[in-house]
């Protein structure tokens, strides 16, 4: 069990041991870091490829289409074809564009998207750097991508790009607050900012449920808020206003082509995986198995199973929900998500200080459901949602 669980860790140690004979001693830490980086890039870049084909096929089926089915068996080599196409395409840069900033923007977007993986524990003992302030690192580096988005939009000298960038920045700034606030409750209860320690705090099984935070009232509310905010941070439908095809062509990366365009997609998906991974770490027990009986499955496998589950959820919501309007987006962030996230902090505190038992569940549940109903009523007020009628059709 431990053999399979730690197979990658052992592999790395073995590799380092082999290299120690060849390389000078001073270079070993560098090589160790490089090995971790290579592993992260390879795994998540291939996950990007898998997700694109899954998303296209899944969306197709949701819309009663086949989806890509030509390249390779059942179309599963489509990402490779897309990648080759992006690589050999002509790279066009608008003449009026700010050449340097235009070139730097996609790089600046991909680098933070990859950097945040440094603190994600993808398995037992499998984290590149165990920062004491890992969560802060995650959000700090993630915040840097906003500037890259702005750079892309501004340097293109295109009205759609600039509008898309402004929308993206406004949206990311707004949704970062509920995103961070919903994680603060976890930080409060675990007393640490280190993702590794947060995962360790969720080990064990109380009754028939694992000790994951999602199985508490505040944890569940926090998880839902976190996932909605993550969806908005990743600019995915229904929060895809910054790149709404029907309004802004492609938003801030309208003027990008070829491989730079592919880099934007890569960065978008990488940050989606990263933020999903963080959601898993914070609320879904990280790499922990749900039941003690399932402990024989390696920890990294659990992490990726959960990650795939969340990816499916993202694809499903993308296939279901229509795009929001800008005012709806901002109202939702500031009038619904933010108060709920703040109340959720209170819920977490109450949960922490009440003794275990039924009353704790009742109070916690009431503190989650009550505000949800009240705020939801406020959000729905004045809107008469009924079956849509088409006056001029038929």
């Amino acid at each position: 069990m431990t053999g399979l669980d730690q197979v990658f860790v052992t592999l790395k140690h073995w590799l380092l041991g082999q290299l120690a004979n060849i390389l000078p001693n001073g270079l070993l830490p560098v090589v160790s870091v490089l090995l971790s980086i290579a592993a992260i890039i390879m795994v998540f870049a291939s996950l990007f490829a898998i997700m694109t084909i899954m998303e296209r096929k899944g969306l197709g089926r949701i819309q009663n289409r086949y989806g890509p089915n030509r390249v390779g068996p059942f179309g599963f080599l489509q990402p490779a074809a897309d990648g080759i196409k992006a690589l050999i395409k002509e790279d066009l840069v608008p003449r009026a564009a700010d050449q340097v900033v235009h070139l730097l923007a996609p790089v600046m977007l991909v680098v933070p998207a990859l950097l945040v993986y440094a603190v994600l524990p993808v398995g037992r003992n499998m984290v590149a750097i165990d920062f004491d302030a890992g969560l802060l690192f995650f959000f700090a580096v993630g915040a840097a991508s906003e500037l890259a988005v702005f750079m892309a939009g501004w340097s293109s000298r295109n009205k759609y790009a600039l509008l898309g960038a402004m929308r993206a920045v406004a949206q990311m700034v707004s949704y970062e607050i509920p995103l961070i606030l919903s994680t603060v409750s976890v930080v409060m209860l675990t007393g640490t900012l280190s993702p590794v320690k947060i995962v360790e705090a969720q080990a064990g099984h109380a009754g028939w449920l694992p000790d994951w935070f999602v199985f508490t009232p505040w944890g569940f509310a926090g998880f839902v808020l976190f996932m909605i905010a993550a969806n908005a941070e990743a600019n995915r439908s229904p929060f895809d206003l910054p790149e709404g095809e029907s309004e802004l062509v492609a938003g801030y990366f309208t003027e990008y082509s070829g491989f730079k365009f592919a880099l934007f997609f890569l960065a978008e998906y990488l940050s989606l995986f990263a933020v999903s991974g963080l959601g898993i770490t914070l609320f879904l027990g990280g790499w922990q198995a749900p039941f003690a009986a399932l402990d024989f499955v390696p920890s990294w496998a659990w992490f990726f199973v959960k990650l795939l589950g969340l990816i499916v959820l993202f694809i499903w919501t993308r296939g279901t929900l229509p795009r929001l309007r800008v005012d709806q987006l901002m109202n939702f962030a500031w009038k619904f998500m933010l108060p709920l996230a703040l109340i959720n902090l209170l819920t977490a505190a109450v949960w922490h200080y009440m003794p275990p038992g039924m009353p704790r569940w009742l109070v916690g549940g009431a503190l989650v459901v009550g505000p949800y109903l009240m705020l939801g009523r406020g959000l729905m007020a004045g809107k008469h949602i009924s079956k849509r009628t088409y006056r001029y059709a038929e």
Partner: protein
């Protein structure tokens, strides 16, 4: 309640997702290169030039009047008139196009050239696989490629072709009738001229003009 609609929608898409694997009737798309949906009769893609008879270059109905060139909204037609004339289907002497080019990359399939053509000579084709590997020369379609026989037109647009043929036949008939009338009038004038030569009549020129 807030969120109720989202759950309903998720259920609906899940039903679609699973249903598409169960029943093939749900899938509305076709596997294109192998399988094609039938085209409607009024489908239109790109214009072609109609010719009568067997020789595409001699039988072209086009008389290079350049109306289509002027009316084309994206200005994708380019015509060069001939210096000489040749008889058209009615036997009338007409110019003909030396060059007739249409830029495939510019044409927007609006069919205005067809609507304005007084000679039933430009029509819309239904072929839609028009891509080429040469993006400069290959997209400029010239006269030999554009010329297609009337039978082709009858095949792709039977109703329109019948109307067009009828109109042309009517015009030919009219032209023949006119020619006959002209011949008769000429004969009459000649006869009258003969008569006039015998006995001068001041009314005769008026009749001849009428």
């Amino acid at each position: 309640m807030l969120g109720e609609g989202i759950i309903k929608g998720m259920a609906e898409t899940a039903r679609n997702f699973l249903g598409s694997y169960v029943s093939d009737d749900r899938l509305t798309t076709v596997q294109y290169p192998e399988e094609r949906t039938p085209q409607f009769e009024n489908a239109r893609q790109f214009p072609f030039l109609v010719f009568d008879g067997s020789d595409p270059l001699k039988g072209l109905r086009c008389v290079a009047c350049q109306i289509c060139e002027k009316e084309c909204p994206p200005k994708c037609i380019y015509i060069v008139k001939s210096k000489d004339k040749r008889p058209d289907y009615k036997g009338q002497m007409q110019l003909y196009p030396v060059t007739f080019d249409i830029d495939l990359s510019v044409c927007m399939s609006c069919q205005i050239c067809v609507e304005v053509c007084p000679f039933e000579s430009i029509k819309m084709d239904t072929a839609y696989e028009l891509s080429t590997s040469d993006r400069f020369g290959g997209l400029l379609v010239s006269k030999p490629q554009l010329a297609k026989p009337n039978d082709h037109y009858r095949k792709i647009h039977p109703t329109d072709a019948a109307l067009s043929d009828a109109a042309l036949a009517a015009e030919v008939a009219k032209a023949q009738a006119k020619a006959r009338a002209d011949a008769e009038a000429k004969a009459k004038v000649a006869a009258e001229a003969k008569a006039k030569a015998a006995a001068p009549n001041p009314v005769a020129p008026v009749v001849a003009i009428a």
